[in-house]
């Protein structure tokens, strides 16, 4: 067999080490597409609104990416987001200092994550099932506790805590975008540059091999379940600081959007590969489609259909690129 040209070989080497390239190209295409079709797409307000949508989704997706790379799954993040927002709202209404309520909401989220991880690791059942169960359970609890009614908290002026979580600056930009970018950066450094990150890849890549090489795979998974839930909870608090109200259905469907963004970014559903930069691109792509379609004059319903197509196309492209690059 004739060996491929040197140029193609270089591209393959590059692709093997950067699974996020596919999502980046997709992002560029969508960006150019909307720039040409939607007149107000290239304004700073428009960019800010993309970031606002992307940030809240992206914080959730970042945690899910981390967990998925270690070979597990979390369908309960939407419910956890709702629980955290509700805990934050109820404690605020009860007169707790906001900072304390925030910490309490995060602790509750981390506790749910621990439960997800503990059940999955101890019983050995698929996390798809564990978190399907806890997704329904916590949603049910939310509905039962609130009787189905929203909970609001309208302070006379914006508290510092809300500004820190999701305040406006430089026009329509929000601090949630800074949280998002900071979390992506932090998690990616941990994943790509630390020993723990190596253990995460190994756990998802081949659990048995990792175990015989001395990686504490159960502990890695447990920690990642906690990270996933904790970030979903943080996103819930951040979203509450924007809306100042939360209804018991808050976050429903978000789990699938978050997983979609992660796989668009090149994270393998089966674990062992992916990174946070890919998820950053995936989330921006989803955010861009959401606000771009509206600005291009399409009815909002088209958003889901469009994202659905993107997910399938992105994974087909990612899979084939990977296969080709490893040949």
């Amino acid at each position: 067999m004739e060996s491929p040209p040197r140029f193609l070989h270089d591209v393959a080497v590059w692709l093997r080490q950067h699974p996020e390239i596919g999502a980046f190209v997709g992002l560029l295409i969508v960006f150019v597409g909307f720039s040409l079709t939607a007149t107000r797409f290239l304004t700073s307000d428009s960019l800010a609104s993309i970031l606002t949508v992307a940030a809240e989704l992206g914080i959730v997706s970042a945690g899910i990416t981390f967990l998925m790379i270690s070979g597990e799954f979390d369908l309960s993040v939407g419910s956890v987001l709702g629980v955290a927002a509700m805990v934050f709202a109820l404690t605020a209404k009860a007169g707790w200092p906001l900072f304390l309520g925030w910490i309490f909401a995060l602790l509750a989220s981390a506790g749910i994550g621990f439960l997800n991880g503990f059940i999955t690791v101890r019983t050995g059942i698929p996390s798809f099932i564990t978190t399907l169960g806890t997704m329904m359970f916590w949603r049910g609890i939310l509905l039962a506790v609130t009787g189905g009614f929203p909970v609001s908290y309208f302070p006379s002026r914006t508290p510092t805590m809300f500004f820190v979580l999701n305040g406006c600056f430089a026009g329509q930009f929000r601090t949630s975008a800074l949280w998002f970018l900071g979390i992506i950066f932090l998690l990616n450094v941990i994943l790509v540059r630390t020993r723990y990150g190596n253990a995460v890849y190994a756990t998802g890549g081949n659990r048995d091999a990792a175990r015989v090489l001395g990686v504490a795979t159960d502990k890695v998974k447990l920690v990642n379940f906690i990270i996933s839930a904790l970030l979903a909870g943080l996103a819930g608090c951040i979203q509450f600081a924007r809306f100042l109200s939360v209804d018991p259905m808050r976050g429903q469907g978000l789990e699938l959007e978050a997983i979609a963004a992660a796989v668009i970014g090149g994270t393998l559903l089966t674990g062992g590969a992916g990174n946070l930069i890919g998820t950053l691109f995936g989330v921006l792509l989803v955010g861009m489609v959401r606000s771009g379609l509206v600005q291009a004059g399409a009815p909002a319903y088209w958003y889901q259909a469009f994202v659905g197509v993107i997910v399938v196309v992105a994974v087909v492209v990612n899979t084939n690129l990977r296969r080709w690059a490893l040949k």
């Binding site: 080497v13 020993r195 190994a202 091999a209 990792a210 015989v212 090489l213 062992g272």
Partner: protein
């Protein structure tokens, strides 16, 4: 070697899983700088014996001595810390991870960059580049995923890893079973080289001819018992095959 305590001595090891007696009163030892072939049919207890030695699970009864000292090995990590390195056929390396990351998995060198402890990737890549060139594997970069290596190259990298980290005992589980003739030859040579450099090796296999060409002694297991240990000068490869084929007659398990 007489009078000197062997590197590893396993005494009177028994292990049951439920009602299945996987190992019964097995004695096993490996000397310094010796290649020990561990052979037997499927279900003979080879893997169980090795998994006890590497801390995957504990024996029901029996004792393990390493370098003359009695040891209890509770996890693969403890085995590694003692200097017992295992290369499993399918579990040697993780295909999607880079060669560097695989090589150092669980033992990555770090540099402190506040607030993180980061892997010292420059050092990792330099070591791996050197090891790969010693083995004779050519890749563009140590950052390349293991998936692009052939089966023999993967075994070689895993053995190179054991050598680099100063293993005293190298356990190879079916290292040649999935390899082409040429690759098998390379891996067998590499095993002899490891021995030259002072390691002891346990070579587990079905292929008697592969192990016969490199081993100094052979231990034959059958239905969880030890049939015998032979020196290479006592038996031919055909003898070993005949012993395994005809089975262990005395006190044979039913069905």
């Amino acid at each position: 070697m007489s009078g000197r305590e062997p590197l590893v001595r396993m005494v009177n090891i028994s292990k049951s899983f439920g009602t299945v007696q996987a190992l019964k009163n097995v004695d096993f030892d490996v000397g310094y700088q010796e290649v020990m072939g561990l052979v037997g049919d499927n279900g003979a207890g080879k893997s169980t014996l090795i998994k006890i030695l590497t801390g995957v699970f504990p024996p029901d009864t029996g004792e393990i001595y390493f370098e003359g000292k009695k040891v209890e090995i509770h996890s693969p990590k403890e085995a590694r810390d003692l200097g017992i390195e295992t290369v499993y056929q399918d579990l040697a390396l993780i295909p999607l991870m880079s060669i560097s990351r695989n090589f150092f998995l669980g033992r990555e060198p770090v540099v402190r960059v506040w607030p993180f402890k980061l892997m010292d990737r420059r050092k990792m890549d330099a070591v791996v580049r050197k090891v790969l060139s010693e083995i004779g594997i050519q890749v563009r970069s140590p950052e390349e995923p293991v998936a692009i290596l052939s089966g023999g190259e993967r075994q070689s990298v895993a053995i190179g890893r054991a050598l680099h980290f100063g293993a005293k005992l190298l356990i190879l589980d079916e290292p040649t079973s999935a390899l082409s003739v040429r690759e098998t030859h390379k891996v067998l040579n590499f095993i002899l080289e490891a021995k030259e450099r002072g390691l002891s090796i346990i070579f587990i296999t079905h292929n008697i001819y592969h192990v016969y060409s490199v081993a100094d002694r052979f231990t034959i297991l059958e239905h969880g018992r030890k049939v015998a240990t032979f020196g290479k000068d006592e038996v031919s490869a055909e003898d070993i095959i005949e012993i395994i084929r005809s089975g262990f007659k005395e006190g044979e398990c039913q069905q």
